[in-house]
């Protein structure tokens, strides 16, 4: 039987797939893979049309006192609303109205052109709210808390996902620690990590930067910026000036 010696086959292969070609093809493959993944990463979670949040002639009374009235504002997808104002001017009340927790006394809040109370169930799926309270059960572990809040939204993150999220939020390796053993800032970080596990398009954040160190503030700002570039919206209050990436804030100054 006739057999090609290895030495004769090898040059042939070399001419067909020269080393440089192989590297070239591999590099192309890499590029395309990167492009595809980057593309899918930048897509919103589902291909719904871009969302808008708008207030029309919104007013608020608390304890018989007029806090604000006739607030008009339209927030498009990819933008963030910076609610500013002095203490007690009604920032938290406004945010709770946006969430549907507080009743709307005057005017209306529209999500995609429909009043939020007329589509409460659908609206809640699009919403993630983080208030002054961290909503963490002190005698449960960090992992249990995260899994439970995700379950409320109908999601079941696995251990690897929660571990990755906690690492991203600067509390790595704490998943089996009781929440009561964490510091104030760490609790806040765990509470915020809920954002990364939520598919919601509208983030409503009440003083999210409180109790956070400088690195935490930067990390959160980056997270919000990434959310906005994916077609999300954010409404937040803060007493400290922050930059969300390069996306300019849409200001809403409340006055008594």
């Amino acid at each position: 039987m006739f057999c090609f010696p290895v030495e004769t086959v090898f040059p042939l292969e070399k001419t067909l797939f020269p080393r440089d070609h192989a590297r070239f093809i591999r590099s192309r493959l890499c590029t395309w893979r990167d492009v595809i993944s980057a593309h899918s990463f930048n897509q919103p979670f589902d291909l719904k049309p871009a969302s808008t949040l708008s207030f029309s002639k919104l007013g608020c009374n608390r304890g018989g006192r007029q806090l604000f009235q006739n607030v008009d504002c339209v927030l498009e997808a990819g933008r963030w609303l910076y609610v500013a104002g002095a203490n007690g001017v009604g920032k938290t009340s406004l945010l709770r109205m946006v969430c549907g927790l507080a009743p709307i006394e005057a005017g209306d809040i529209l999500w995609n052109g429909t009043p939020i109370h007329a589509q409460a169930d659908a609206y809640r799926q699009d919403l993630c709210y983080l208030g002054h309270l961290n909503a963490l059960q002190e005698s449960m572990t960090v992992q249990e808390n995260l899994v439970f809040t995700a379950a409320l939204g109908g999601l079941a993150p696995d251990a690897a996902q929660t571990r990755a999220v906690l690492k991203q939020f600067g509390v790595p390796g704490r998943e089996h620690q009781l929440v009561r053993h964490l510091s104030q800032g760490q609790k806040r970080r765990v509470a915020l990590s809920r954002l990364a596990l939520s598919p919601a398009r509208l983030w409503v954040l009440d003083e999210p930067f409180v109790a956070m160190d400088e690195a935490g503030v930067r990390m959160l700002a980056d997270l919000i910026a990434a959310h906005l570039t994916q077609g999300g919206l954010a409404v937040l209050t803060s007493h400290q000036q922050v930059d969300i990436g390069t996306i300019p804030a849409q200001m809403l100054e409340l006055r008594a």
């Binding site: 169930d121 005698s139 449960m140 999601l155 079941a156």
Partner: protein, 227 residues
């Protein structure tokens, strides 16, 4: 990420409540110890006259069970309200009514069911026979879930109110009276030879009604409390 059906969410809430209760054992044990103490004090106070004890046993056990179940009601939503979890529950895509049902079931499992299991032991102190003990357990099994469901309305209404405990009892006790009357009456009427079927049917009817209406009322009350 995997998505969950409503049943799995309900199970997740139940698991959370039960594991929390097991970590704070005192909270599960307090109503049970209360039940045992109250029901054991009666034979000591009334004296060892067995005919009298037998006659008052169902009523005494039912009243003690009712008070014991009410002890833990105030905590049903209070901790979740204080740490903000309740807000997240109200804003989640899961219907709040379902979460309320899960809470009521967990209240029954943690404070109602132990009472049902403990009742025959206490019944022996009163000299009840096997048939009466079985019937007593059955009435408690039908009645305590109703107490948990009706109680959840009161717990939701008194959230964040000062002196919530007293207010809660005042609101809830009138609604508990029918359950008490038919629960305690079943054993008596069976002993008198009239059969307990009617009482049991009425208890079951009250359970069905409260399964349907209590979550609606509780949900509304919670949304008002959260405003």
């Amino acid at each position: 990420m995997k998505t969950l059906g409503l049943g799995s969410v309900l199970l997740a809430v139940l698991r959370r409540e039960v594991s929390l209760a097991l970590r704070q054992k005192g909270e599960v044990l307090t109503p049970l110890v209360f039940f045992v103490v109250i029901a054991s004090l009666f034979p000591l106070g009334v004296g060892p006259e067995s005919a009298l004890l037998q006659r008052m046993a169902p009523g005494v056990l039912w009243v003690s069970a009712l008070l014991a179940a009410m002890l833990s009601l105030q905590r049903l939503f209070a901790t979740d309200y204080a740490d903000g979890s309740l807000e997240q529950m109200a804003l989640s895509s899961t219907p709040l009514g379902l979460l309320v049902v899960a809470k009521a079931i967990s209240h029954f499992l943690l404070s109602g069911l132990p009472l049902v299991l403990m009742a025959p032991v206490l019944g022996l102190q009163f000299g009840l026979d096997g048939r009466a003990l079985g019937l007593l357990m059955l009435t408690l099994l039908l009645g305590t879930p109703t107490l948990s469901l009706i109680g959840s309305i009161g717990a939701a209404l008194t959230l964040g109110v000062r002196g919530a405990g007293v207010l809660l009892s005042l609101l809830i006790l009138p609604l508990y009276i029918p359950v008490l009357i038919f629960g305690a009456g079943a054993v008596e009427s069976d002993a008198a030879g009239m059969g307990a079927g009617g009482h049991l049917s009425l208890l079951a009817a009250m359970l069905v009604l409260s399964i349907f209406f209590a979550p609606i009322a509780t949900t509304t009350a919670l949304r008002i409390s959260l405003e």
